[in-house]
Subunit: 205 residues, 2 copies
């Protein structure tokens, strides 16, 4: 279900994706070494050995390249979530897996490779389409878990589903949004587990 890489805006040129992927991979490596904010398309072209014109055949701007990198990172997080959910034994277990997989993978992707944090933060703060689609997909998965738990009797049904969903997205935010997550790295994993437990207590029938 790694479908957000298809919705990235600002991509153009031939449909064969091989060369586009080559540029994205090279750009990802370059940005992860030198940072996104400080690099221009000219710097990037020089460093990765493509002409600037060639890059512009595939991407209309630096942001379009950044979006493609983001979409690939966020897609990897979603794939990890789907994989983990497949082994879930109940809605409660699935909620724990869902939240923990997102946080573990976000922390690893954005901070193990600190320079990619740069792109993730800009993407999130400026609401790029890759971030917006990612959050929409996260909310869809959460809604499915909540519905399953309501049907099985694990979760309460009095609160309107959209309110429950919105409030959970809100309390997950400091562990998902890169600019906020950086302040919470030192409370991982306990802080995240504590919030997971709080949410599950709030869902009790």
């Amino acid at each position: 279900m790694n479908d957000i890489s298809d919705i990235t805006t600002g991509i153009r040129g031939p449909v064969e994706t091989y060369k586009r992927d080559q540029i994205v991979d090279a750009a990802k490596e370059h940005f992860s070494l030198y940072g996104y904010a400080k690099t221009t398309v000219s710097d990037l072209a020089k460093a990765i050995g493509f002409s600037k014109g060639y890059i512009y055949k595939f991407f209309e701007s630096k942001q379009a390249i950044g979006e493609a990198i983001c979409a690939s990172c966020l897609g990897a997080i979603l794939a990890a979530v789907e994989e983990s959910l497949a082994d879930g034994t109940s809605a409660t277990d699935k909620f724990r897996r869902f939240f923990k997989t997102i946080v573990d993978n976000s922390a690893e992707l954005f901070f193990a490779d600190r320079k990619l944090y740069d792109i993730a933060a800009v993407s999130s703060d400026e609401k790029w389409s890759s971030s917006v689609s990612y959050l929409a997909r996260v909310e869809e998965i959460l809604t499915a878990i909540l519905l399953e738990g309501r049907q099985s009797g694990e979760f309460e049904r009095k609160t309107p589903l959209d309110e429950t969903c919105r409030s959970i997205m809100q309390v997950m935010q400091p562990f998902m949004q890169p600019t906020m997550l950086q302040f919470n790295l030192d409370v991982l994993p306990d802080g995240q587990t504590a919030v997971s437990n709080l949410v599950l207590r709030s869902l009790a029938p």
Copy 2:
């Protein structure tokens, strides 16, 4: 109970506080117009009509002045909380008042006067003593509300008190921490109310 203004570090000089307060008031006005980060003690001295030496008689650094301003702002938030709690009719009502008063006052203080956000953010991100004491006091007030609710039977008692407290502090964080709050201004007041309701559902016996 506005006692955090007494713990500010880096303050020195005579005990009479009148002149120190004068400097703090003038500095607050100056910072709110020109920003904290960009102003030096020399700029400040020139602008508010005291000599640099005179300012250093009372404060050992720019940060010490910033801390005093922060302590005064955060003290005002705590005073508003205490005032609102005095009218609380139950632990549930007190929790709602507690959380809402903090968020409303933080949003007003830091963002109505956007330039003061500057100091508040640095104070929080760098864990100045004014911020640390403020959070400790907020946690004390929360603990008292939780205890009251556990005693009256409004709140569940199975979860260890410190875990309940820590997880609630964690979900309140994006509405209290200035660097995070700036991303949530557009979901106020509904997002805060939704989280308040989620917390109260999690506290149900």
